[in-house]
């Protein structure tokens, strides 16, 4: 299961970030300016950790984790932007 968690880990991080930002935007908009940067930094750190953790996996899995972390990080930063715009 560890390999599977590594593979989808970056996307779970994205889901967590998205859910946090969305729930704050929908239900507690006054907290958004605090919640969003915290979640964004946490999300990026989590992706970095996942890349670090995957180094023991095979090369193919490492590729997927790195790619996933890259896409997830872009999406996380991208979806945090509307809060500041």
């Amino acid at each position: 299961m560890g390999t599977w968690l590594s593979l989808i880990g970056p996307f779970i991080v994205w889901v967590a970030h998205f859910s946090g930002v969305y729930l704050a935007a929908e239900f507690a908009v006054e907290t958004l300016n605090i919640v969003t940067p915290i979640l964004t930094i946490l999300g990026l750190c989590a992706n970095a950790y996942l890349i670090y953790r995957a180094r023991a996996e095979n090369l193919w899995t490492i590729k997927i984790v790195r790619g996933g972390a890259f896409v997830s990080s872009i999406a996380i930063i991208w979806q945090a932007l509307p809060v500041y715009v």
């Binding site: 390999t3 929908e26 193919w60 896409v71 979806q79 809060v83």
Partner: protein, 845 residues
């Protein structure tokens, strides 16, 4: 063999074995897998039959929905026509959308999976063949009954999205909306059953050596799709149940005057509805990828990128649902977040497109029928994708919302992302199913007619939309200058239909479904396992996979497989069986005995469909009877399958022994149960979202909940049930005493029932009624969901007790009790969570 065991390499080195399998073994294999004859032909459960039935039925629904589209185009060919009445037009566009999305698109991609996946993975069949059969029969019977509603004027007419309040009792009296709400219930069950089958099949029945990096792209797509189904479909299950409860019992979930909110429906519906587009698209993209590889004679360029894109698309698609609601006045920041996610999803989709183009560029593409359909798919899909980016931006979406521009966009995406790939797949894989391939020459004609027809039909709709033509109106006035564009669209739709008609002629002329009697073979030179010589038993022996394109990598593999030089060249137990492998590296772990033909999946399908349809016409007693008979049928079918096997371990080739049973997490039944509980969990989560949504939007309708001290009995019983279920897991590891375990399950069952009763009583004493407010409605709905799980607990307890008395629960080989414990633990935990959250939210107000 455990995952990552270094001994696997030693075993793999022995294949292909020097000794060929005997003819006697082969004859036995054929006999075990032969199809039933006579009327029992219908009881076949093998994927070769069920997959074909499934796909044929889906195609029939495609034709029926296509005819509805043609009728609508005739109506719109000129202004102020009266070919269809407004009411009939409403029914037509509702049925067209519903049938295409629920009865054609999702079932069609699942059908392709059922038909091809076992062979593609090197398995003899999917792990739960009777579940596939049940999914098919419920779909066929329910689908036909649902479609028949249009012939008696009872078809739903509120659009395929069925927004309340239009579909509430006031504006949609009668039973046509109920037909939709209950009628698609069977499709949801069918889709979820198929998804569970695929998840377990792909994770656990791959051929030895087929590690994740060697899995066919279609398997990856079906895996992602299946996970999306069990995450996304529960939302629409909940939505349809809530609206039906509102219509039948006046529970005001969507009534703003009584603490409900019509926007809640849109959130729930689109949380399913938008991922549904990707549920359809991902398998389409995967079919396209596999066809492109073969026609270009090149392995896919950027395989990890394609896999990554599918995973990314699967996840991100759950973050875009509200882009269907930009015009509803949701908060500005939410709009921004959803707009960002909607544009982010273009990254993985675009990556896939570049991989396809690179694969075509890397090889020498053949412009045969599958090749043309593949290239055409890319063009049509990219066109639809580009307009998708446009509508992801809020200012443009506000302009184009509910106009024909959106109709054009969605048809480009769905035709390019699913229909064209499906036709590529028809031409490409027909030789694997039929005695003769389809005609390549006719196929090229079909392609050009469909390709031209698509553009002529849908491109003018962009312009009509930008000129202000709204969706879902049965006519327009001559003064609007829309007649030329609409006339062109109508002409295009008939060109498209001509392409489909020509395809049908080709099928009638050439297609011969002869399972077990050979097929046309590898006409296009594909490299994946489904092109190995096969019969009803799939392949004679299960190959060792060392490449993503095994047939290109090893020219002798077909011969060696056919001679029985690989795994499982004979039936080790005298029954239907396949190899279960580990989830990552696909190392052999267990021999899985598969059930054979049975009439019970059919009866279960008949009665399940009967349950939903009888409820629709408000024949409650008959519906309940039908539901009970459906449960009985399922119990009898399960009773027959979980039999003790005397042989503990068997040789699956070259002295590699694997057990005939797997325990705990290794067992496929546990995997399926976890997937089922995820479905229940998602329904529960979406119900909690509904609670939160109504709480924030309609706080003035909320009353004080019962306090935690008033609810002590409910919580204590719930905790005891959870503790008992959790400790049962530990007890099961140490004891073989089945009657004792069943007794403890019965006690746990009594505890969860009491907890539910106490919960209900405290809410009633607090003065909350389900018809009084949105809060009452959603709290009672959460309790009703909990009650359905408790009913499941009662059924599995009775089942376990019955099997225990019959001496059929033999520990540790039977995992029935492990499954029961899992269900009980989840039920108790959900009850506690539901009770706590409903009280906490109310208390905060």
């Amino acid at each position: 063999m455990t995952e990552g065991d270094s001994s696997s390499a030693d075993f793999y080195g022995r294949f292909p074995s020097k000794r060929a399998g005997s003819k006697a073994d082969f004859a036995k294999l054929e006999k075990i897998w032969c199809a039933p004859t006579g009327w029992q032909y219908l009881t076949a459960v093998s994927n070769n039959y069920i997959g074909f039935y499934y796909l044929s039925t889906a195609f029939v629904f495609f034709l029926l929905a296509g005819i509805l589209a043609l009728l609508m185009r005739v109506q719109l060919a000129a202004p102020a026509q009266t070919f269809l009445s407004p009411a009939a037009y409403n029914q037509m566009f509702t049925m067209h959308g519903t049938v295409m999305m629920f009865l054609f698109a999702v079932p069609a991609v699942e059908a392709v999976g059922v038909l091809l996946l076992p062979q593609m993975l090197g398995a003899r069949d999917l792990p739960f063949p009777r579940l596939s059969a049940y999914a098919f029969w419920i779909y066929l019977l329910g689908g036909l009954s649902f479609f028949a509603s249009i012939f008696v004027g009872l078809a739903p007419d509120g659009g395929w999205f069925m927004y309340p309040p239009l579909t509430g009792r006031i504006y949609s009296p009668g039973i046509s909306a109920d037909f939709w709400l209950l009628g698609i219930g069977f499709i949801e069950i069918s889709a979820i059953a198929g998804a569970i089958e695929f998840i377990v099949g792909i994770m656990r029945t791959r051929a030895p050596g087929m590690s994740l990096d060697k899995m066919p792209i279609l398997a990856w797509a079906l895996l992602v799709m299946s996970v999306m189904i069990i995450i996304g479909f529960p939302s629409v299950i909940l939505a349809t149940l809530l609206l039906e409860l509102e219509r039948a019992f006046n529970w005001p979930f969507f009534d703003a005057t009584r603490g409900g909110d019509p926007l809640l429906w849109q959130h729930l519906f689109w949380f399913f509805g938008h991922p549904e587009v990707y549920i359809i698209f991902l398998p389409g993209a995967a079919m396209l990828t596999m066809v492109i590889c073969t026609v270009a004679r090149s392995d896919v360029v950027g395989y990890p990128l394609v896999v990554l894109s599918m995973l990314a698309t699967g996840f991100i698609s759950f973050g875009v649902w509200a882009h269907h609601m930009f015009a509803t006045g949701i908060p500005d920041v939410s709009v921004g977040v959803f707009s960002a996610a909607s544009t982010a999803v273009t990254i993985p989709a675009g990556t896939m497109v570049f991989c396809w183009i690179a694969t075509l560029a890397a090889g020498k593409p053949q412009l045969n029928a599958p090749g043309l359909f593949s290239i055409g798919s890319v063009i049509v899909f990219v066109t639809g994708g580009l307009t998708g980016v446009m509508v992801a931006f809020v200012p443009f979406d506000w302009q184009a919302h509910d106009s024909y521009f959106i109709v054009a966009h969605l048809h480009y995406v769905l035709l390019g992302g699913m229909l064209f790939p499906l036709f590529a797949a028809f031409y490409y894989w027909a030789p694997a199913v039929s005695k003769h391939p389809l005609s390549d020459r006719v196929g090229k004609w079909v392609f050009w007619l469909m390709f031209i027809g698509t553009h002529v039909t849908f491109f003018p709709m962009h312009l009509a939309g930008l000129m202000g033509m709204p969706r879902r109106v049965y006519t327009y006035l001559p003064s609007q200058r829309l007649e030329t564009l609409n006339f062109i669209s109508t002409c295009g739709s008939f060109i498209l239909a001509a392409g489909v008609a020509l395809f049908i002629a080709d099928v009638i002329r050439n297609f011969r479904f002869t399972p077990g009697d050979g097929n046309a073979g590898n006409v296009y030179g594909g490299g994946t396992l489904e092109w190995l010589p096969s019969g009803l038993y799939s392949t004679r022996s299960i190959p060792l996979v060392v490449s993503r394109q095994p047939l290109w990598y090893d020219r002798n593999i077909s011969r060696d497989v056919e001679q029985g030089r690989y795994f499982l060249p004979r039936s080790a137990t005298g029954l239907r069986e396949t190899i279960m492998t580990s989830p990552v590296l696909a190392e052999p772990q267990q021999l899985l005995v598969l059930p054979g033909p049975s009439v019970w999946p059919i009866t279960a399908g008949v009665f399940t469909s009967g349950f939903f349809l009888l409820l629709t016409v408000q024949a409650t007693t008959a519906a309940v009877t039908s539901g009970v008979l459906a449960i009985l049928s399922i119990v009898i079918w399960l009773w027959d399958t979980d039999r003790p096997i005397s042989t503990k371990s068997v040789d699956i080739g070259e002295g590699l022994y694997v057990p005939t049973h797997a325990f705990g997490r290794m067992n496929h039944g546990i995997w399926a149960t976890i997937a089922l509980l995820v479905v229940f969990g998602m329904i529960f989560l979406m119900a909690l979202f509904s609670l939160l949504f109504l709480w924030t939007n309609q706080p003035k309708f909320w009353i004080d909940p019962p306090s935690f001290s008033e609810s002590t009995f409910a919580f204590v019983s719930g905790f005891l049930a959870l503790a008992l279920s959790s400790s049962l897991r530990a007890i099961l590891r140490r004891t073989k005493n089945v009657p004792l375990t069943v007794c403890m399950l019965t006690i746990a069952c009594a505890l969860v029932i009491y907890a539910q009763y106490a919960d209900l009583t405290t809410w009633r004493e607090a003065g909350l009624a389900p018809w009084a407010s949105g809060q009452g409605a959603i709290v009672y709905a959460i309790m009703a969901h909990q009650a359905s799980l408790i009913a499941l607990c009662v059924i599995v307890t009775l089942y376990a007790a019955g099997r225990s008395v019959a001496g059929l629960v033999t520990r540790p080989t039977s995992v029935l009790l492990d499954i029961c414990v899992l269900i009980f633990a989840y039920t108790a935990a959900q009850g506690l969570a539901g009770g706590a959250v409903t009280r906490l939210l109310g208390a905060i107000v």
